[in-house]
Amino acid sequence: MLRRWSRDGGWQSGGSSRRGSKQASSGAGDQAGGKPSGPLASSVRQNMETFRTVISRATDVVVRPFLLGPDGRVRCALLYIDGLVDKSLVSEHGLKSLLLDLYPVKGLHGEDPAELYDRIKERALTISEVREADSWEDLLFNVLSGEAVILVDGCSTALVMCVRSFNARGVEEPQTEAAVRGPREGFNEVLRTNTALIRRKLRTPDLRMENLTLGTRTKTDVVVLYVEGLARPELVDEVLRRLRRINIDGVLDTSYLEEFIEDAPLSLFPTVNRTERPDKVVAQLLEGRVAILVDGTPFAITVPAFFWEFLQVPDDYYERAYVATFLRVLRVLVLGLALTLPSLYVAVTTYHPEMIPTPLALSIAAGREAVPLPAFLEAFLMEVAFEIIREAGVRLPRVVGQAVSIVGVLVIGQAAVSGGVVSPIIIIVVGGTAIANLAIPNVGAAVALRLLRFPMIFLAATLGLFGIVFGLVFLLLHLASLRSFGVPYLAPVAPLGGLKDVPVRAPWWQMVRRPRMLAGEERLEPARSLRAPATGGVEEGSSP
């Protein structure tokens, strides 16, 4: 941008004075409720005072004044937050360059502040990324985000040195999505690391990253990623539109955004995907979806989401198709068990005992003989007890948590059976249900099923198998009515549309189309349709 210095000491751009010292003074005085707004003043002293007033009683704020120019006539200041910047970078490539290495360079002796400003920006600072801030909002945002800012007397524009650095976890294996095969890296809490992990796997110039700042106080960086040409433009627009209308004090995790952007935020079932895995995000971007990353959390969200995805894991794509298909079908079965096993126990023992094979019925009857509770209460109490044990185990340190689980399950369970409080069969039922629930890969879906088990038990206790059928159909209707960013939640099963990835996993060379609901029919990936030849290039018997 063309900028020149005016006689009254302010920057001019395009022929009109942008900020002279007078305007700047008045700008700095536009403080509403303690927050300055408008342009910076051209006086460093005034800017420093304003800054100290705004960020008062903050021991981590560093304001370092220094002098440049002939005989130190030009007053400058360095502002940053201790702990958020890389101090070595600030010292080596900022202060040292200015005060020692480049001090003798011609120009830093000049009296013209505009010239001095340009020299600092273009020759003195050896930081790779230097920006400018020309308003108080901009300056404060940069300082609080972890950048270092240099103010030069006589200039109402500040130089921003991008030296953001803070302690963070390294790239580790995801805690909630462990995989047997495939990449082991997971996101961490640093947004830029996370975008880099995606960029490293997706080296296409079509990858787009749109930056947003959300949270009126936290000013959290949010990045929306998509691949141009694959993601439908209306989907991208809708995601951005929903994000931009969010008005909240703080955004500390992607879950804060979920409730604002979901189509059905009151539903138990999540209509966005959460993941810690960069490979999963990249795979979904390649399907035409949109990903959202938030600074400070290792969890990304991708939209739209389908219900069946909650029964899929990245391993499915790294294993052979048969193995993946078997495991997916198994997970569907597990889903049914996790939801209905306790309620089936209640319904069968209460209303339909004739369904139980005679030897088993006798065994169950013997086990329940001394139990004072009806089957419904027995199942209900055991489910509640299991939830308590689980919650206690999760919140405690890992070693103690395991001990609590062992005490809860083995000791109390055994004692309860021996004491005739519950029957042995209910321990098997609740234990089997818990294992089935743990086999569901998606935490959000697993939690939904845990909660739904209670109304299902109640329905079974009042209406037997009819109650279970009623509950399941009601649930089906609810799921059928859900949409995720306009896409039916139960797709591609209902409505039917491409079953090569649900519930089976077809071989890669058969999956020649992207999901129809996301990218439309015509989007093909011809390279994938090439099946490997049955024989190699060398004919049998021929010599190499």
């Binding site: 209303y351 339909h352 004739e354 369904m355 094979p357 209406l463 037997g464 198998l465 009819f466 279970i468 059928v469 009623f470 159909v473 009601f474 089906l476 209707l477 059928a480 009515s481 039916p488 139960l490 099963v493 209902a494 409505p495 039917l496 549309g497």
Partner: protein
């Protein structure tokens, strides 16, 4: 936004139509046609194809209109209103019978101490809730339910095959072709239920896809209908089948897995109910659509709950006992179904042909463009 139904969803709806028809009508047909009952049902199946074909032809000729709107356009406003009310009554009647049959099975077979109103009420609420969410949701749920029921049906057939005895069947045509065709009135009556498709026409694409969907749906409809008929005739024999109140329920009671799991009829009944629910949702929607076409309401869902109460009352008081339901199916059903399932589409097809000929300047000329007549 215009709602469009997929091929599979149409197939699911059509294939589920036999779910209440067979258990209720098989004893009547078997008593008249003996082991030739399967011939009677085959005749009904052919009629179903005829009805489906007529509706497809109507949709190709004048797309994006349901039967009531077509009547209104082709035969005038009064005829449209009359047909709308008639169809609404018919659909409500069929929905009520489906509801009643479902509740009867639960009470009769599994939970005799629970009042029937509980089953009727809850199922009606479920149907109302489905309709309130819209036809798209109903269609999606129908697709999943049909898939589940189809798996159950395959298992049901497989597990019963070991009980089949061809000696029980006796002569394949039973009492002869004449009695079989005379008894075909009842199967033809429930084949007329295919007319429900007429209320979904605006949600269907007027292309070969519709013909394929109707063809496939009716293929499954026929296979689904004939399988329990043949199983009952070959397992119980025609005489015993004629004496039973609900032969399908009796077949379910025979299922056992490896002499270990016995009396699993409750599970199969649950799967069976999936089909009945699809049918119930379809007819409930058709009833709502008929009334809406007559009243031309801006928000048709306002009628959902009043209509649900009406269907619930019909199911409870319309036929107080199951034998009266069967009586209705035997005596009134054929005429009612024939009127709305055969005569109405035939008349509309004729009127549409005449209208198109008049518009294009002569018979056989193509229609210049799709749209409202």
């Amino acid at each position: 936004m215009k709602v469009r139904l997929g091929t599979f969803q149409v197939v699911a709806l059509l294939a589920s139509l036999w779910s209440t028809g067979i258990p209720l009508t098989l004893p009547v047909v078997a008593s008249r046609a003996g082991s030739g009952a399967w011939l009677s049902y085959t005749a009904g199946w052919i009629v179903a194809f005829v009805v489906g074909g007529m509706l497809s032809a109507l949709h190709r000729a004048i797309p994006n209109q349901d039967l009531v709107e077509l009547t209104h356009s082709l035969l005038g406003r009064r005829a449209g209103a009359l047909v709308g009310v008639l169809l609404a009554l018919y659909f409500a009647q069929v929905a009520a019978i489906a509801l009643r049959h479902m509740a009867d099975q639960w009470v009769g077979a599994l939970m005799p101490e629970t009042p029937m109103i509980v089953f009727l009420g809850l199922t009606a609420v479920l149907s109302g809730y489905a309709l309130k969410r819209g036809i798209e949701v109903v269609a999606r749920a129908a697709g999943v339910l049909f898939f589940v029921a189809a798996m159950g049906f395959v298992l049901f057939t497989t597990l019963l095959l070991r009980n089949v005895s061809l000696q029980e069947l006796g002569a394949p045509v039973g009492k002869g072709l004449g009695p079989a065709m005379a008894a075909a009135g009842v199967p033809i009556a429930f084949s007329g239920e295919v007319v429900v498709l007429g209320m979904l026409l605006p949600a269907l694409k007027p292309s070969h896809q519709l013909s394929r969907a109707v063809g496939l749906g009716l293929l499954f409809f026929g296979l689904g209908a004939l399988t329990p008929v043949v199983l009952s005739l070959t397992i119980f024999g025609p005489a015993e089948t004629a004496r039973l109140t609900d032969p399908v329920l009796e077949l379910l009671k025979l299922i056992e897995i490896g002499r270990f799991l016995e009396h699993v009829e409750a599970i199969f009944l649950g799967l069976w109910q999936a089909l009945v629910l699809v049918k119930l949702f379809g007819f409930h929607y058709a009833c709502l659509a008929s009334l809406n076409s007559v009243l031309r309401l801006e928000d048709s869902t306002a009628l959902t709950w009043p209509l649900t109460v009406l269907i619930l009352n019909l199911s409870l008081w319309g036929q107080p006992t199951l034998s009266q339901v069967v009586e209705f199916k035997r005596e009134v059903g054929p005429w009612f179904s024939a009127a709305v399932g055969l005569v109405l589409p035939l008349v509309l097809l004729g009127a549409a042909r005449k209208f198109l000929d008049r518009r294009s300047g002569g018979p056989g000329n193509p229609v210049p463009e799709e749209g409202q007549p």
